[in-house]
């Protein structure tokens, strides 16, 4: 639509840029907020300091929350990736009706509002006295991460030509060898993508964890959630920067993986 009058074109561009700024800028506010020297958050800070980073690092509670988050996200990823990869392989070879039923089941935790999922899992965890345990947390985080792995591996499976497996079988390769030499290398990018999504899903998860975690298994988001309602010190902004820093690092990692697989194709 090149014939849009100049005035309209300028208006659209300005509006689009404003919306883009609205998407990004507010998130960046946590960075200056974390460098406040005062014991309350002022934007922009009256005096700059890394004081609250020191407080964060020297506070055993924040550190344990960070450690719990990393541990939980790793465990959830270690469960979700193999289970989800097998499921994607199974879906690819099952018949239409079964495929529809199973994929609906795998996607369901994504569709049901997270608050309902959380409360339901919390209730069952209470019933079997497993609330607050790392096992309950990692299994339920794995359920939330599972759809991402199934979808991500499923997409990369589309690239595998079934004729290759047939050719390999015709040349005398066994099923394990076919899997190792043909299927696995092709689903690898999907598995890596699924792993990153799983890790992020678990690391950022707040709602389910608010209910399920107890004092000893509190994660970084839960600690942030609990503290923000008690006090409003710059240490909160430091925690937010730590969480965001990890997200950004993984975002960059994904871009690199995508670029590399793009080169191979």
């Amino acid at each position: 639509m090149n014939r849009l009058p100049l005035g309209w074109r300028i208006a659209t561009n300005v509006a689009a840029m404003a919306v883009l700024a609205f998407l990004i800028a507010p998130i960046l506010a946590i960075i200056p907020a974390s460098f406040n020297k005062a014991s309350f958050i002022r934007l922009p800070p009256a005096a700059w300091s890394t004081l609250w980073y020191g407080r964060f690092i020297n506070d055993p509670e924040w550190l344990r929350a960070l450690w719990n988050s990393l541990q939980l996200a790793s465990l959830a990823t270690l469960i979700a990736v193999p289970v989800g990869t097998l499921a994607a392989l199974g879906l690819a070879r099952s018949r239409a009706a079964g495929r529809l039923f199973c994929s609906a089941l795998f996607i369901a935790p994504m569709v049901v509002p997270i608050i309902v999922v959380s409360v339901a899992i919390y209730r069952s965890a209470l019933d079997v006295s497993m609330n607050g345990t790392l096992l309950a947390l990692s299994l339920s985080h794995a359920v939330l991460a599972l759809p991402f792995v199934v979808i991500s591996v499923g997409i990369s499976l589309h690239a595998v030509n079934p004729a290759w497996s047939l050719a390999a079988a015709g040349l005398g390769a066994g099923p394990w060898r076919i899997f190792r030499t043909i299927t696995l290398p092709h689903v690898m990018p999907g598995m890596v993508g699924g792993a990153v999504f799983s890790f992020m899903t678990s690391f950022d998860e707040a709602v389910l964890t608010i209910f399920l975690a107890d004092y000893s298994t509190t994660t970084l988001p839960v600690k942030l959630w609990e503290t923000v309602r008690l006090e409003f010190t710059p240490v909160l902004a430091v925690a937010a920067v730590v969480m965001t820093g990890l997200s950004v690092a993984l975002f960059v990692l994904v871009q690199i993986v995508i670029r590399q697989t793009g080169d191979k194709a």
Partner: protein, 284 residues
């Protein structure tokens, strides 16, 4: 090839074995707890459907349910209005600018919702930057109450959910054949007429898809309304939690969850219908 040549039992057994761990995980950790929890709605001492009766008769609960719908609707309308120019520009841009905009839209999705909500708490405070800007511009002499009410909830939710509207809208806009506009131009259609008869109908599927996403996600939102809202702006998720943590009333929590799930299910059915109708329009 021996495996697939004898398809029958062996092949099915293998497929089952591949699916089994995931099915077990989802059924044990998700379906079973969900079923058990929702069934609590029918176990109230007052009778099988007593919980639903309380929900529908109490003015407080009715107002909260209504408030959730109104907020979800307003969030959907605002995101649609904001997403429109951005999606339009993305569909008409190539190269580095496009990449930059795409990253700009996708990036917030990578940041924790809690962090995104927290940053709005910093910005919308009484003495925060937004209020100081408002006073500096002379819009208002005193700081405006932007936090702990529906204003805060709306701003935060629009910010969190905007990417879910931009992406489908961009998807349908980028598929519009530019020759259609040239043709309508050549046939003498005005700007408004071309927009109304070509651009708008062709972007409807994206708009409907985005609106469904945003509306459904809004309905069940917990973190953002709880942190940015006040007592008067309670939404249904907060109600479910308060039934459990404040009243220890699991049947009521389950009943409110069923109402929320039913709304989600109905909306998804409507959306599926609507989107299919739109595909039919495409074919014509």
């Amino acid at each position: 090839m021996t495996d697939s040549a004898a398809p029958g039992r062996w092949h099915r057994l293998e497929t089952g074995a591949l699916l089994a761990p995931a099915l077990l995980l989802v059924i044990l950790i998700f379906m079973l707890p969900l079923g058990r929890f929702l069934s609590l709605a029918f176990t109230a001492p007052g009778g099988t459907f007593a919980t639903f009766q309380v929900l529908s008769e109490s003015t407080v609960y009715r107002r909260i349910l209504l408030n959730s719908f109104v907020i979800a609707l307003v969030v959907t309308l605002i995101t649609a209005a904001l997403a429109w120019p951005l999606a339009y520009l993305m569909a008409r841009t190539r190269g580095a600018w496009f990449t930059l905009m795409m990253y700009g839209v996708m990036f917030p999705l990578w940041i924790s919702i809690l962090v995104r909500t927290f940053s709005w708490m910093l910005l919308l405070e009484r003495q925060g930057p937004v209020n100081r800007l408002i006073q500096a511009l002379g819009v208002s002499q005193t700081p405006l109450p932007l936090l702990f009410n529906n204003t805060g909830v709306l701003i935060g939710m629009v910010h969190v959910l905007l990417p879910y509207m931009v992406i489908p809208l961009y998807g349908s806009m980028s598929r519009i054949d530019p020759r259609l506009m040239q043709a309508s131009d050549g046939l003498g259609a005005g700007l408004w007429q071309s927009f109304r008869r070509i651009w708008l109908p062709l972007t409807m599927p994206g708009l409907a898809g985005g609106a469904t996403f945003v509306f459904l996600l809004s309905l069940g939102f917990y973190i953002t309304p709880t942190l940015l809202g006040g007592r008067s702006s309670t939404m249904v998720a907060t109600l479910i939690v308060s039934f459990i943590t404040e009243q220890f009333n699991w049947p009521m929590a389950a009943a409110a969850s069923i109402v929320l799930l039913a709304a989600v299910a109905v909306l998804m059915l409507v959306a599926a219908r609507f989107l299919r109708v739109d595909k039919g329009m495409f074919a014509r």
